[in-house]
């Protein structure tokens, strides 16, 4: 029962993060600011959702379920390594292409 509560809380929090990331991706005014929610709220959301699922599938406790939980954590580690790199690659491409940053008062692009 306690496990179910933990799982539900983790998943709902993760989904709220995902929703915030998508909403920010749609609402923010320019390329640089859109990168903030897209690249990182998604990372936090994936961490929470995968953590919840890892806890959920850990019971009954066998060698296989522990291995699967470790693999889920491996995916989280990979996402935390890959996401900043991908974000940096995209922002670098935009910066070198000379995209202008949005200033206060400009129209939405």
């Amino acid at each position: 029962m306690v496990i179910a509560v933990i799982v539900v809380v983790c998943l709902v929090a993760g989904l709220i993060f995902f929703a915030g990331g998508t909403l920010g991706l749609l609402r923010f005014p320019d390329f640089y600011t859109r990168l903030h929610p897209a690249g990182k709220l998604d990372t936090s959301g994936a961490l929470l959702v995968l953590l919840g699922l890892a806890v959920y599938q850990l019971f009954p406790l066998t060698l296989g379920s522990v291995l699967t939980g470790l693999k889920l954590m491996l995916i989280v580690v990979f996402i935390f390594l890959a996401s900043p790199t991908a974000t940096h690659a995209i922002v670098d491409a935009g910066f070198r292409a000379g995209l202008e940053s949005w200033k206060k008062g400009d129209p939405r692009r």
Binding site: F18, L23, L25, A46, L53, F78, I79, A82, I90, E100
Partner: protein, 93 residues
Amino acid sequence: MDDFFLGCGLFLVGLMFLSLYRGIFGPTVLDRMIGVNAIGAKTTVLLILIGVLYHRLDMFVDIALAYAMLNFIAVLAAARYFQKRKGLDEELY
């Protein structure tokens, strides 16, 4: 519990369609890339949710890991490719 996971998966699919808006109508190429990257990040999580729903998580975890790596490499390659283009914001339709 399965119904809850199904609801989570459907919610994620809805978010992916919303991100697809940025992928299609994004004013520059890089905006589209952000949209596609966001869809890829959600797909990784969605694959694991599907694995939980089908009770075959041990198999779907490997698929999700491979998908995450492919998505990462695709974004890196696309970013390197578009880095050389000047004037991305004056794109013609």
